[in-house]
Symmetry: C2
Subunit: 210 residues, 2 copies
């Protein structure tokens, strides 16, 4: 395992250099066709499960970093449930995808770290994922970090699920940013639970859910 300083080092560059020096294959965490296709199976599951309860139209909120999960889900839904609309959800100050979708080109964030939503913080959308999101997604939704902590507490209390901030951000958008949604149905992906006990406890204590 090779650790790095995400504030001052570039993991892409480290990965590329390692792959070249050791003759390894680099599998990028989102900008790779097989990764996008694999994450897209989540969209397939959404289409199947929604159809079982008679839903073919919905805003589908996806926790969004580099856009692998988002573009994969959007691709799957384009085929399986084309009336659904994918909405990328990002934290405040790390809204590169939302701004890229607005401007039509890949925008970057000023910072590469310093968010509790660290799992979904990337500098900019992927070269491969951005065109897919541009063609297939609705507008992004930008959520303050504290709303993620509130959603973690709701997921604990109501769904009995452990979520990390970045994995709870789509739920946070559904719960606290409904003014940006339309239609009767909202589907959100809860995409990760890598949270330490200290931060989890802080979420439960700061935002107790009755």
């Amino acid at each position: 395992m090779i650790l790095y300083d995400r504030e001052h080092e570039d993991r892409e560059a480290i990965g590329t250099a390692l792959a070249e020096a050791r003759g390894l294959s680099l599998i990028k965490p989102y900008d790779a066709p097989d990764v996008i296709a694999g994450q897209g199976t989540c969209g397939f599951e959404i289409a199947v499960q929604a159809a079982e309860v008679g839903i073919d139209q919905a805003d589908v909120l996806v926790c969004c970093g580099g856009g692998g999960l988002t573009s994969g889900v959007a691709l799957a839904l384009e085929h399986e449930a084309p009336k659904m609309r994918v909405r990328p959800v990002e934290p405040v100050d790390f809204d590169d995808v939302t701004r890229s979708l607005q401007s039509g080109r890949r925008e970057s964030n000023d910072r590469s770290g310093g968010s509790i939503c660290d799992a979904i913080v990337t500098r900019s959308p992927g070269e491969m994922t951005f065109p897919l999101m541009r063609d297939l997604c609705g507008p992004g939704i930008v959520v303050p970090e504290d709303d993620c902590l509130r959603a973690i507490s709701v997921a604990f209390s109501r769904f009995k699920l452990v979520l990390e901030p970045g994995g709870a951000i789509a739920l946070a958008a559904a719960l606290y940013h409904g003014d940006q949604l339309s239609g009767d149905h909202v589907i959100c992906i809860a995409s990760g639970g890598n949270i330490d006990a200290q931060l989890f406890t802080r979420a439960l204590q700061t935002y107790p859910c009755p």
Copy 2:
């Protein structure tokens, strides 16, 4: 909603009196055929999912209070996976089912409350559930409460699940009482997450899971 004092009042008597006074149907939480059958669907799921990975023989650990879930699962497995053996799991001091299986008749606990495993604390096995468990289950496993807190921390860290003490007791048996198990496969049911933030936090802080 009618609240009662579980240490000094008898909920069975309260329920029966209410049903008579108001002409209502009393649906008991475990000693009722439809409830047992409904909970047995969990055993059916176990058989199907285990078969998918080629497993037809296992100790199946079930969080056990009055025995509705336990006897339902045992009934389902008798038909769907008859080589599996159901093992009821109970907290120390509330091991009425384990002792009843040993003696062959319905034994009682001295206390009816005072456990953090409150969801699975009952005075004695049900009239309907006991004969089923007697005919179909292996020996009970009795687990200290602290092991349930440890299992809650493991479930948080490894499975990203929120469990209450009584719902984590089968996992606790698997993790810390393996000396009472035999065979290569152990299946446990995680049966509830009704835990408040305070007790959950205590579990994570007391038994941190690296």
